[in-house]
């Protein structure tokens, strides 16, 4: 009985979203379950905020945002994309948080003539030789995150460093990216395990290596565990730490508390960036969702604004040439400030240094210190033939 009714309900639900309407549908494939669910949630909420502020439109064109959870499984993401493409006839996509999901999903979308606008993941394989006219990254090329951190470490004058990252692709890219703009001596590279939650062995090693500073890349829960254990091990007051945005964003700072205070990070957006759009965005986000936006929320919002600018210019048409022309103008006032697309349709933008500070209310937030790199572009753009 249970299954029959369930399947009937399912069939009914599928029937409802059958016929195409006059509005532009946007397929938003993102990660909502798993420990990393809050990343996708924020990106989605940022994106939806932009749509809601226009009363269900982007750039004056009515849009419908269809959100589905990829469960951080590449295969599931691909399955959803196929359904969106073939069954819902969606042409415009966004939302993917993780590079491995993007790696599985994006080629299928592009081959089917779809357009993908990334609000987060910017893996290198689509930035260089593999760039595509219908593929835009509005956040950053992955390496930028770590390049900016490398630049910050150089600026802060650290000569000898230990670098840590998990032993998978993104971790290795992080260390390679960091070294690109750092230039100082790397005493040791330590690779941690996927899912590792206890870092005491690594911290003992770092203590023994006596570096000037340490760079670590552990996004989400791993990053939280690392910072907490770093403080407990008494290393926080001995060895400065530099990280990239995914290892210390607003939510991590709040969840780590005191242990984050003093850690230096780089980011392309922060809550306190002084431009008018940002002030309005932060206020609107707080009002609507009753929480502080993270960098992921800002990226979702900016992606929506960029799509909106393009839709406005084409009047809602998604034909490749006009849409691309409009999109590449990036004719929108983004919350992060100045922004330009490079030839590979990845961002050229400024990166800031931020520091975790404890406010009067006892909450730990991120405070912008100043610019680290201006107009940073990724190193793959030169290989892109667009």
């Amino acid at each position: 009985m249970t299954f029959r009714t369930l399947m009937l309900a399912g069939a009914a639900a599928m029937a409802l979203c059958g016929p195409a309407m006059a509005q532009v549908k946007i397929g938003f494939i993102t990660t909502l379950s798993t420990p990393a669910g809050y990343l996708g949630e924020d990106a989605r909420d940022g994106f939806k905020l932009a749509v809601d502020q226009e009363g269900g439109k982007l750039g004056g064109v009515p849009v419908e945002v269809i959100v589905e959870d990829d469960k951080l499984k590449p295969a599931d993401g691909k399955q959803i994309a196929e359904k969106f493409l073939q069954s819902d006839k969606i042409k415009l996509f966004s939302g993917i948080i993780f590079s491995n999901v993007a790696g599985a999903v994006v080629p299928g979308i592009l081959e089917a003539g779809g357009i993908y606008v990334s609000p987060n993941a910017g893996p290198s394989n689509f930035a260089g030789k593999g760039c595509n006219a219908n593929y835009y990254v509005t956040s950053w090329q992955n390496d930028n995150l770590h390049e900016s951190a490398g630049a910050l470490a150089k600026k802060l004058g650290y000569k000898k460093m230990v670098l840590l990252a998990p032993n998978y692709q993104a971790g290795k890219d992080a260390i390679a990216g960091f070294k690109r703009l750092y230039g100082g001596e790397v005493i040791e590279e330590i690779y941690t395990a996927l899912d590792q939650t206890d870092f005491s062995a690594e911290m003992a090693k770092i203590r023994a290596a006596k570096p000037d500073a340490v760079f670590q890349f552990h996004p989400g829960g791993q990053g939280i565990a690392f910072l907490k254990q770093w403080q407990q091990a008494g290393l926080k007051d001995q060895i400065p730490m530099v990280v990239a945005a995914p290892s210390l964003e607003q939510k991590i700072a709040a969840a780590v508390g005191d242990a984050a205070v003093g850690v230096a990070a780089t980011t392309h957006w922060n809550t306190d960036l002084p431009n008018a759009q940002n002030k309005a965005f932060v206020e609107a986000f707080r009002k609507k969702y009753n929480r502080d936006p993270t960098v992921y929320a800002s990226q979702g919002y900016d992606a929506a604004l960029l799509i909106g600018a393009a839709l406005k210019a084409t009047g809602g048409k998604l034909d490749e040439k006009p849409f691309r022309e409009a999109m590449l103008k990036a004719d929108a006032k983004l919350v992060r400030g100045d922004f330009k697309f490079g030839t590979n349709q990845h961002p050229i933008q400024d990166w800031y240094e931020v520091k975790a500070v404890k406010g009067a209310d006892g909450k730990v937030t991120l405070q912008t210190v100043g610019k680290v790199v201006e107009k940073l572009q990724d190193s793959y753009a030169k290989d892109c033939k667009l």
Partner: protein, 304 residues
């Protein structure tokens, strides 16, 4: 040398944490014969209960009480609703049902509390260091974790070996009929044991809250490692869980600490890094496979 001692301490500390998780799991399996994948969910619930209440009230003590109560309560609840229907069933259905419970609790916590990780700070008293050996300041909190692990080990031993409840538990594991004949309500006994297991899982969650991230899915990250521990020790044996936890804690920590260096002496850096990464990730599984190949029922086999 100093580094080695420190790493051994780290291994013992990780072992202590693992034991906290493994004790409840092995108890439940040993007595009721239930494989409970949802043990990790109870671990998460304990941590959430403590983090929320400690955050709201500012009192660590209240947080601990709330965390323990939440885990035990949920444990008793799922025993009454789901688990007790599984005692007589094949392990397959136990794995399946508790797999379903994991999904449910992860979804529920995300829905009710939210997906963002929670703040859980170290209690002030325990946030300093102790200089165990000159030049090795060791975090007080981590020593406290070891202490809790040891206390739970002793407490369980005392309860099982020396109390009436423990006698019933031992008898219930092997002679259900006899315990029933003694006029003891076996259903209540089982609910109690499952609740105790849940309480221990919750305690583990509370204890690691300040060291790790309190977030949805935190249970699954440690669940498999915990199973490795109890399988090595011999499922159902609390003593085995203790030895298994120490063994795995040591193997994991020392592997991560020294394998890359050892490999680098013999091969190129990049290859060594890759291999060391893979090896230290799978080291605990290799240990487990080796133990089981030699002793198919673990180090301390329980029952006939």
């Amino acid at each position: 040398m100093q580094l080695l001692i420190e790493q051994i301490l780290n291994g013992l500390q990780l072992g202590g944490t693992l034991f906290l998780l493994a004790a409840g799991l092995t108890l439940v399996f040993g007595i009721m014969g239930v494989i409970n994948l949802a043990h990790g969910s109870l671990f998460m619930i304990g941590a959430y209960g403590a983090a929320i209440v400690a955050g709201k009230t500012g009192s660590w003590g209240l947080g601990v009480i709330a965390g323990l109560a939440a885990a035990a309560l949920v444990g008793v609840l799922i025993e009454l609703v789901v688990i007790r229907r599984l005692y007589a069933r094949d392990h397959l259905y136990q794995v399946l049902a508790t797999f379903g419970l994991i999904l449910f609790f992860n979804g529920l916590v995300a829905m009710v509390v939210g997906r963002a990780p929670l703040l859980m700070e170290t209690p002030k008293v325990l946030s300093g260091f102790v200089e165990l050996l000159p030049g090795i300041p060791y975090p007080t909190y981590r020593l406290a974790v070891m202490g809790v692990g040891l206390a739970v080990a002793l407490g369980l031993w005392f309860m099982i070996a020396r109390t009436r409840v423990g006698m019933l538990i031992r008898a219930g594991a092997t002679h259900r009929d006899m315990v029933s004949a003694l006029g003891v309500d076996i259903a209540k006994l089982y609910t109690f044991v499952f609740g105790l297991g849940a309480l221990l899982a919750g305690l583990a969650g509370i204890v690691v809250g300040p060291i790790r991230s309190v977030q949805v899915g935190m249970g699954e990250q440690v669940l498999i490692m915990t199973f490795v521990v109890i399988v090595i020790g011999g499922i159902g044996s609390v003593r085995g869980a203790f030895v298994g936890a120490m063994l795995i804690g040591m193997a994991d920590t020392l592997g991560r600490a020294f394998l890359p260096g050892l490999l680098k002496m013999h091969m190129s850096g990049a290859l060594a890094d890759g291999l060391a990464g893979a090896l230290s990730s799978v080291l605990i599984y290799i240990v487990m496979a080796l133990v089981l190949v030699v002793r198919p029922r673990g180090l301390f086999p329980v029952g006939g």
